[in-house]
Amino acid sequence: MDGSRNSNGMGGDAALPPDKRRDYKLLKRFAGGDEKAFVEIYERYSERLLKYTYRCMGDWQEAEDVVQEVFVQVMKDAAGFEPKASLSTWMYRIATFMCAKRHRDRGVRKRIIERELAAGTFDRPAAENEGEKAAELAEQAAAVKEAVAGLPYEQRTAFVLREYEDRSYGEIAEITGAETGTVKSRIFRARQAVRDEMKKRELL
């Protein structure tokens, strides 16, 4: 899959939903040289893209690099963006593609492990003294995070998009370039693996 291409052949923005219209106008303004429009796009999407890529890569430095690549791609392709396409989906698609590319790179994996060893692995929620239920949830949330980090990349991406980003199967298919049926089974397999891990730890 070429994650850097937006794909839509429709023109005109009058009938677009407000979010898409707003994104399209921002991109057009940016393409016309208005850098403030780019900052608006950045403010709108950077946080969620950073969280998403962090969940996929398990490392903030890698997440930062991937999201930088996403925004650079937006800079390059702003003028050619088609109004009916979803900027959000397009950006997530590029991010997913870039994460997959880095995930296959042994050098990147080695860097992540080295940073984890130096810093003390993944960050953990800090709500363990806020009552029994909160403590239990915090423990479960941390265990899920660790189990997700151990999933094969395609399953991890599908799980993160579904459970943390609340994307539909159709959207996940569009973002990852997989068939909807494949998305369905990836999510199911990921859930089974996470569930097994949680059961092993007696958290379910």
């Binding site: 940016f30 780019f38 950073l50 969280k51 903030w60 999510i187």
Partner: protein, 94 residues
């Protein structure tokens, strides 16, 4: 007492889809009926799966599962992008 059979894996996948709202009303109804019947015959695998997957979802969506972006990551990224933009962007075709 009923035991899981060869067709049960497909049913379990549907449990996952049901929780995601990806089954139509008719399919959802059939699934719930099947699970209920199995439970009455002594097989609770799908009931337990549904309960566990609900708990998993709760664990993913509780505030404790929140992902906090370190401020320095956001600041670095913005600074890097602003440098790239001022060094090269010229609008269309840059």
């Amino acid at each position: 007492m009923k035991k899981p059979g060869p067709g049960c894996d497909a049913v379990k996948e549907k449990v996952s889809m049901f929780l995601d709202g990806e089954l139509c009303r008719e399919e959802a109804g059939k699934l719930l009926e099947r699970i209920r019947n199995c439970a009455e015959e002594g097989c609770r695998e799908c009931v337990e799966l549904m309960e566990d997957l609900k708990k998993l979802r709760e664990a993913c969506r509780c505030p404790e599962a929140g992902c906090f972006v370190p401020p320095e990551v956001r600041e670095n990224l913005k600074a890097r992008l602003m440098r790239i933009m001022s060094g090269g962007h010229g609008g269309a075709g840059a």
